[in-house]
């Protein structure tokens, strides 16, 4: 059978690129949300999809990035986009510190601890920890980002910022997947003992998976803060983590196209159902069950990696 996926992907990219020229501000903003969730989903995919760690606290890292941006921007007026690497770094370092003692927990025990992490983060934000998070009011007056003097303000502008960053993410994460690092994460997901026995420092890779995921979530938090200009703790609650968790699982663990599709479904479908008003989440819940039953491994599960054929027919004994 002919592989028509490149055609589909290309068509998707073209349609997406053209979308802001045809859609109204609302639908563009829906796509912006989808894009943000896609970036977050891809970052969680490293931890949950590739390394197989049950991490249901990703919103915590997202929050750390958003708050880092908000606090520094509103106190020192440093342009928002400059803060993107700093937000990523702060989230990454905190992830390293937090994940260190809990990394050896398995499966569902890790799950509840990461839920705890997101709850502790939210409660800390609500209680205005260190007097810098603004409590439940959050932080307001975050400035709009600027690129070469161009002020990013309208949803169409953000569309290109967000999906541009998503494209960079896809590009880099695709490389990451198809590398020694990506494989190492998969080994530890498949069988931790065998991975360690093959010489892989599993604890190290778990930590790095957390850090990479957190850095990206932190940078997504930066964009989120810039887009909203106000952030509040309720945007980073446990439910937000659950949404990200579902995006990865519904789309297909370890699959980049899957996660993006997952973001479209989880962040986009409820918007399509707005006409059902109060019943929209009910329908959404039912559809989630149905989708999982019909595609048990996610809608677009990952495809096997491809490797170049060996140069010669394979020789005798390596050493």
């Amino acid at each position: 059978m002919k592989d028509y996926r490149p055609v589909v992907y290309a068509a998707f990219c073209v349609l997406l690129l053209l979308a802001p020229f045809f859609l109204n501000a609302y639908w563009v903003d829906v796509l912006n949300n989808v894009g943000l969730y896609a970036i977050l989903g891809l970052s969680l995919n490293i931890i949950l999809g590739h390394a197989g760690l049950f991490h249901m606290g990703h919103a915590a890292f997202y929050a750390m990035g958003a708050y880092t941006t908000a606090i520094i921007n509103t106190t020192y007026q440093i342009p928002v986009l400059w803060l993107m690497p700093i937000s990523g770094l702060v989230a990454g370092v905190l992830a390293l510190v937090i994940a260190r003692p809990i990394i050896h927990l398995r499966g569902d025990y890790l799950l509840i601890v990461t839920i705890g992490l997101v709850e502790i983060t939210r409660i800390a934000l609500v209680n205005n920890i260190f007097g810098i998070t603004g409590g439940s009011n959050g932080i307001f007056g975050i400035s709009r980002p600027e690129i070469f003097g161009f002020r990013i303000r309208r949803p169409e502008h953000f569309f290109f910022l967000i999906w541009g960053f998503a494209a960079v993410t896809v590009f880099l994460f695709h490389r990451l997947e198809n590398s020694r690092f990506g494989r190492a994460l998969n080994y530890l997901r498949e069988d931790e003992t065998a991975a360690e026995g093959s010489g892989i420092n599993t604890a190290h890779y778990k930590l790095i998976a957390f850090v990479v995921g957190a850095v990206w979530a932190g940078m997504a938090g930066n964009i989120f803060a810039a887009k909203m200009t106000i952030i509040a703790p309720e945007s980073f609650n446990f439910w937000e983590s659950v949404i990200l968790f579902m995006i990865v699982l519904l789309g297909g663990r370890g699959s980049i196209p899957g996660v993006i599709l997952g973001a479209f479904l989880i962040a986009g479908l409820p918007e399509l159902f707005r006409q059902f008003a109060s019943a929209r989440m009910l329908i959404f819940g039912a559809i989630m069950i149905a989708m999982m039953i019909f595609r048990t491994e996610g809608i677009l599960p990952p495809r096997p990696r491809r490797y170049p054929a060996p140069a010669s027919g394979g020789g005798e004994g390596a050493s």
């Binding site: 880099l172 994460f173 490389r175 990451l176 590398s179 020694r180 690092f181 990506g182 494989r183 190492a184 998969n186 080994y187 498949e190 069988d191 003992t193 065998a194 991975a195 360690e196 026995g197 093959s198 010489g199 892989i200 420092n201 599993t202 790095i208 990479v212 096997p304 990696r305 490797y307 170049p308 060996p310 140069a311 027919g313 394979g314 020789g315 005798e316 004994g317 390596a318 050493s319």
Partner: protein, 254 residues
Amino acid sequence: MSLLQLQNLTKRFGGLVAVDDVSFEVPQGAIVGLIGPNGAGKTTVFNLITGNYRPDQGDILFEGRSIRKLPTHKIVALGIARTFQTIRLFPKMSVLENVLAGCHCRTHAGAVAAMLRLPFQKREEAAALAEAHAELAFTGIEHYADQVAENLSYGNQRLLEVARALASRPRFIILDEPAGGMNDFETAALIRIIRRIRERGITVLLIEHDMNLVMEACEHLVVLENGANIAEGTPAQIQADERVIEAYLGVEED
């Protein structure tokens, strides 16, 4: 000098003494068999060597250096590779990727290098691929390279574990019942492979119940019973040893 020395190794699980004051040495370049009835503590000894378990007493020296406290992946990096009694492959990944796992500890590229595709990362990746293919060829399963590991036959899964272990460029390899589940034809091929492993300068320590294999392949045998080392010597010596015969016969009477 002996490559590996076990000194008065003891391991307890609750009240059970699984390994009781075991000492033996594995000379450089040898093929040594560790035999004994089921439950004698053979696999536990392996797990102690590879750092999966920590000994309660005693020490393990590899090339004269204690590895008792090292984590498993560091022990692999020092040059000790192993296979598992209950096959532990990465079942959903391809055969080639399983072998690449072994290459891991000899390569270095991290997450950033991978994202940027640095030149050294590309070279390293190509070299690892070549090496993985070579090990598949060495064990004779190269045409399955693109298959999913769990679809291989039992015998080939065992060989794949050997290939994965070899890909870590060990100086010492530990095979835990490598012939388990193999037919006679496959076992004969395995014996040839074990010999060729030694020819590559790799010392072999194996657990095996297939006495034909043990007697044919090993130069030196260590016999465990109830966690204790009861005899040691050449296959001929062991076959004549009263205590060994008793131990094995005693088991068969049960």
